[in-house]
Assembly symmetry: C2
Homo-oligomer: 327 residues x 2
């Protein structure tokens, strides 16, 4: 934040399959202006970027103009930090390799960095949230899928190709594992995402006959939120679903700790907000499965960023480390 006096703001853009949200953020992590556009309605990336700029530029001008903005950070599926491109993103309408960072730089004259949403979340947590001051932690995002951002030595791990940190696709069940959207079987995200929880609910309800509040909901429309609500009301099956989910996640986290021995694991997303229903079985499975040398050393934390702000804050945080374009 060396030049934060002259350039006090950064812009965060979070590109989701449905919506794109963006905001202007100050050094304390306050979003001082924000907006959104639909992601899916633009058939070309050029039209899409034009539209985002058309909505974003007035906000920038109202807050002192382009010269007040240090940089733009973008969180996007399949984002490659090194090249600033998104590559073959299955949930976005534009095919192939899209040089998104360069497209924003050209239009706005502001240096732009891009990475995937989980890496952006990790940078956001390190800059404004639960991982402030930490140099070694792993961010796990529990949403529709399971994403991860790994920080080692104070830097996000991007790997040799810009795509490191896909811990949602570590295989946790080699035999009879659930089919994953990636085409393989047994990935962590098929069990520990919000959709994984709903899948577990349907499996348990179908395999058993004991009573559950969840039986009042058509099986195909059960969500992880329904499971949480039932658990809070004392529903045994709902609590068991969280135990099952947390145990698998905790077992996987114990292995991740053997990789980078982080100071903390930070959980983000709706599931992480389910309190002790999910945190207790996660912590128990970590304790039961961790190598003795790591026992009791790694903190299990929940994100401190507000759900609605986290994506924009995370993306924006990337931009603090950018150099000026002329440099």
């Amino acid at each position: 934040m060396n030049s934060s006096m002259e350039r006090p703001y950064v812009v965060g853009i979070d590109i989701g399959g449905t919506n794109t949200v963006f905001g202007i953020v100050d050094a304390r992590g306050t979003i001082i202006a924000s907006g959104a556009v639909k992601t899916q309605v633009y058939s070309t990336a050029d039209e899409y970027v034009d539209e985002v700029c058309k909505s974003l530029l007035p906000l920038i001008i109202a807050n002192g103009g382009v010269e007040k903005v240090k940089g733009i950070g973008i969180g996007a599926p399949n984002g490659n930090y090194y090249s600033g491109t998104i590559e073959f993103a299955p949930n976005l309408p534009w095919k192939g390799i899209i040089p998104l960072a360069a497209m924003f730089e050209e239009r706005l004259g502001i240096p732009t960095a891009l990475t995937n949403d989980a890496n952006a979340a990790a940078v956001g947590e390190m800059t404004y949230g639960a991982a402030r001051g930490m140099k070694e932690f792993i961010m796990i995002t529990l949403g529709t899928g399971v994403g991860s951002g790994i920080v080692i030595n104070g830097q996000v791990v991007y790997g040799h190709d810009g795509f490191a940190g896909e811990l949602g696709h570590v295989i946790v069940r080699r035999d009879n594992g659930r089919l994953c959207g990636c085409g393989r079987h047994g990935c962590l995200e098929t069990y520990c995402s919000a959709t994984g929880v709903a899948r577990t609910a349907r499996e348990i309800l179908a395999a058993r006959t004991d009573a559950s509040l969840l039986r009042n909901i058509p099986a195909e429309s059960i969500t992880s939120k329904d499971v949480y609500d039932a658990a809070v009301q004392g529903d045994k099956i709902a609590q068991e679903i969280f135990d099952f989910t947390g145990t698998i996640l905790g077992q996987a986290l114990a292995d991740f700790i053997a990789f980078s021995s982080p100071e903390a694991i930070v959980l983000f997303g709706g599931l992480a907000k389910s309190g002790d229903y999910i945190l207790k079985p996660i912590q128990k499975a970590i304790n039961d499965n961790i190598l003795k040398i790591y026992q009791g050393k790694t903190k299990l934390l929940v994100s401190e960023l507000k759900d609605s702000d986290a994506a924009v804050l995370g993306a924006s945080a990337l931009a603090w480390e950018l150099k000026d374009l002329k440099d």
Copy 2:
């Protein structure tokens, strides 16, 4: 190697459960003098360090004296890079936390760094071997156990506590996994170490009745070398043992790639020298299990360091990055 003109040598010390080997190494990775002492015969760490110094110092003096040595690097089980200590090493005779790096610095006046043997192997491979010029790779050592050294951004990953990178203890079999020396079940090293291979041989021979050259050896004394020799002679069961071992290792490596997306995985140790018998099933299991985004990107390499030299070279390589004690 900035001051290699004035201080052209480093010392590498590899501490094993049975033997300690050490050598003086030049910038090209040539061992110009070496020696060894028994590790187990000294009841206190002080006596042990005294003895190593007594053997090492004449070699140093014969090669220009202490002022020609840039630093000492030590590879030791349970070595903590941050503190220069070995901590509760199960295979060493000295209990508790031993400040080994400081003990050498005091006696010889030479700056000393210490880490575990697999991390030292990774630094050795990066300095003198198959990973020269690489900034992102994972070293896997296949010996009595399975060790690992992870390099990200050109630096060994030590984690927040100095103990990162115990990939031999990632759980690869959650159900009915083999009991590991660490007290848990299903660790990678129970399958893919030299002892794991011998264990697989005994299991398969006991469970089946088909002929094998391995049946000529008493079951309890079969080694991974015996399995290799039988495989070379066309023994089907021996080849199957390598297939089984390589498949489990390749599956695990596919998960490791999802963590740090390395440019290469470098295998070291006797098993890694078994050529295509082990490399083919490893590569096949990587290909079959890897997330599409990483497909075909990470090279599978075998260490280029001579077995007998690798431990000393690896330890010595640590020392090139040390600062002078007065700094």
